[in-house]
């Protein structure tokens, strides 16, 4: 899978993921997402082009949010596709980090 990172300011970044967040896809982005969660204060993760997520991908999102949360930071999720959002709810992840479908609202949440 692909991952593009755009700095929002010195401490916050927008991460655009694309592809399948299955075992192989998650392995390709896990280290980079982990590093971002250790060095930034907040991450806006755009999931619009993620067409599949399984527990291995959920785990990567959850661990990034936990790492940031311990430092007072946060992960905000943007635009998950229908199937992906359903998995976020069934797994319980959706109750632990905000999900937005409006880019401006997501940006406001990550900059707050």
């Amino acid at each position: 899978m692909q991952m593009d990172v755009e700095a929002l300011d010195g401490e916050r970044a927008r991460v655009v993921l694309a592809g399948r967040m299955d075992v192989a896809g998650t392995a390709a982005v896990d280290a980079a997402l982990t590093e971002l969660s250790e060095t930034r204060q907040a991450l806006l993760i755009d999931l619009a082009r993620v067409d599949f997520i399984s527990s291995i991908g959920l785990r990567t999102l959850l661990l990034a949010a936990k790492r940031l949360g311990r430092r007072g930071g946060r992960v905000v999720l943007l635009h998950p596709a229908k199937d992906v959002e359903k998995v976020l709810w069934v797994s319980g992840i959706a109750e632990l980090m905000p999900i937005h479908h409006d880019a401006d609202a997501a940006l406001a949440a990550v900059l707050a």
């Binding site: 299955d22 075992v23 527990s55 785990r59 959850l62 069934v90 797994s91 319980g92 109750e95 632990l96």
Partner: protein, 146 residues
């Protein structure tokens, strides 16, 4: 309309994490050849990903030449049967961790089992011949309750 597609398909995977990519590619072919509707196709991919990665991660000792065999049936209900000779494990019987309410208390594991039980409309485990046999059904509009 009768389909010319074969009613069954089989795939054998080795005990190697790189085999997950082969599973994904195989499912791409099945989805196309069997013209699976999006709902069951998604549930099938998700549950097979969870079931197989669980076997490769927990059921086997690394480096041993053990195998996972997957059989798919198109009719009468889309069904996946996963057979492995790893450690005994019944994903229908073990307790799910409680749903976390905060990030701090959220465990990093247990989500795969929750997804498996939700997205398979029927899930049964048995141990014929000393092997795990997990059978998962995917109804056209179905997900398990809860």
């Amino acid at each position: 309309m009768p389909s010319a597609a074969p009613p069954t398909a089989r795939l054998a995977l080795r005990n190697d994490p790189s085999e997950m990519a082969r599973l994904a590619a195989w499912l791409d072919t099945i989805e196309r050849d069997w013209a699976l509707p999006p709902g069951p196709a998604h549930a099938l991919r998700l549950c097979l990903d969870e079931a197989v990665v669980n076997v490769l991660t927990h059921g086997f000792r690394p480096g041993q030449p053990q195998a996972v065999e997957i059989t798919l049936l198109r009719q009468p209900v889309l069904t996946a049967i996963v057979v492995d000779d790893g450690a005994p494990f019944d994903p229908t019987a073990c307790a799910l961790p409680p749903r976390p309410h905060t990030l701090e208390e959220a465990p990093a594991g247990g989500m795969g089992l929750r997804l498996l039980r939700h997205y398979a409309t029927r899930l049964t485990h048995s141990r014929p011949d000393g092997r795990n046999r997990l059978e998962m059904e995917f109804m056209p509009d179905g997900e398990a309750p809860g």
